[in-house]
């Protein structure tokens, strides 16, 4: 065991980790940040997406020690300072971009990474970007619509299922 320290959602955070501890386990079990979900644990589903030094990564496929000294952002850090939902989260609510909600933390973190690099993505660009985020409930239409809306674009042309 060794001490691992990083900045999580703007605050210094540290905990104990073995070499083999995943970043997802460190966030959930050492720091109590259970908003980062572990769906498949095989790097396929994207429920565990967080940002490390500004880049979207799958926290189940990164070791906690690899994130030593990094800036980590999780779903817990996404709301506005007053606790209200941020633009992306609000758009997911407004456009029914979730049903069971299990994939939503990863979807929101991937959407945030996309919009940072590409503030006005096309529908096709959104769908391509979300290749690594699986949702078994919504059929994706409303997720895509929510991300379009969060980027300030017209969503009337997107299929309504």
């Amino acid at each position: 065991m060794a001490k691992v320290s990083m900045t999580v959602n703007g605050k210094a955070a540290s905990g104990e980790a073995e070499g083999r501890m995943l970043l997802s386990s460190f966030l959930r079990e050492e720091l109590g940040l259970t908003g980062t979900h572990v769906g498949c644990d095989t790097s396929q589903c994207g429920a565990c997406v967080v940002h490390v030094d500004g880049k979207a990564v799958k926290a189940c496929t990164m070791l906690a020690m690899e994130a030593e000294g990094s800036e980590v952002s999780t779903i817990e850090g996404q709301a506005n300072a007053d606790g209200s939902l941020n633009v992306i989260q609000q758009a997911f609510q407004d456009h029914h971009g979730l049903q069971c909600g299990f994939c939503t933390p990863g979807m929101v973190m991937s959407a945030a990474a996309l919009l940072k690099d590409n503030p006005k993505p096309s529908e096709a660009e959104i769908r391509h970007y979300l290749e690594g985020n699986l949702c078994r409930c919504t059929g994706y239409h409303n997720i895509v619509k929510a991300i379009m809306a969060a980027s300030g674009q017209d969503v009337s042309s997107i299929a309504a299922e």
Partner: protein, 259 residues
């Protein structure tokens, strides 16, 4: 995962020293290695992360040569490499995987369905390690086998920028690995055609197609030419004949994209 120690050196020399320990294993971005460890298919005593080594970063182009650090991520290759290789890197895995996975890690693994090996054979590459330089043509030695020695690290890769090049990939939709992928590169002294994902022997150069395209760089030049279906991979995603057909179609598409 079995237990292991973790080290993150900041220079190549420190990494080489750390890898001298028995059963030590280099860790690039971990996008293949960590899933492998989770399945307990490997049991290293120590992982040596190469992610903190500044001299293995960066992608640059100068005097017709593309130079990429072994630690460059797929996302960095997609952003800064020459266009055909950038396009290839932009379609590896998904965005989160591309932010972690590295060029050197992928090449050292030599997955028979990975994309980069086709580019390395087509783009006259040189694989640079801590110890020597290896011609791309000599580097890949069958499924998951390379010319690398135990503990040897890919520090950088050089490619000669072609006059034109294109990569066509038929992706397995779940894994996004190549069911077959064909990289065509046109140089002043001839055309190189490399095929990944298809052969039981791993990535290979398709010399018959190279000769035909060097004589006449047009999709029609490939009419009637095919790879031997007998040496193709057969699995639940496709038969030998299907993969042989894909190779021919993808090669024509790559040439058509450049014609």
């Amino acid at each position: 995962m079995y237990e292991f120690e973790f080290e993150k050196p900041s220079t190549i020399a420190e990494a080489v020293a750390a890898l001298a320990d028995e059963d030590a294993q280099a860790l690039g971005g971990g996008q293949t290695l960590i899933p492998t460890l989770k399945q307990r298919l490997a049991m290293p005593s120590k992982l040596v992360s190469l992610a903190g080594i500044a001299e293995m970063k960066g992608v640059s182009i100068a005097d017709g040569v593309l130079t990429m650090g072994g630690g460059a991520t797929h996302a960095e290759v997609a952003a800064d490499a020459c266009a055909p290789l950038a396009a290839l890197a932009a379609n590896i895995g998904d965005p989160a995987v591309r932010n972690r996975g590295t060029l050197g890690g992928s090449l050292a693994n030599n997955d028979p369905a990975a994309d980069y090996p086709a580019a390395m054979l087509a783009l006259k590459s040189t694989i640079v390690t801590n110890a020597r330089e290896i011609a791309g043509d000599d580097f890949f030695q069958g499924l998951f086998e390379t010319a690398l020695e135990e503990g040897e690290i890919i520090t950088s890769v050089r490619c000669e920028i072609p006059e034109a090049a294109n990569y066509q990939k038929f992706a397995q939709p779940a894994s996004r690995f190549a069911l077959a992928g064909v990289f065509v590169a046109k140089y002043a002294d001839g055309v190189r055609v490399a095929v990944t994902g298809a052969s039981e022997e791993g990535v290979f150069r398709w010399s018959e197609a190279e000769a035909a395209l060097s004589a006449n760089f047009a999709p029609d030049a490939l009419a009637g030419i095919s790879v031997d279906a007998g040496s193709m991979i057969a699995d639940l995603h496709g038969s030998k004949e299907y993969r042989a057909h894909l190779v021919a179609v993808l090669a024509k598409r790559a040439v058509a994209a450049l014609a």
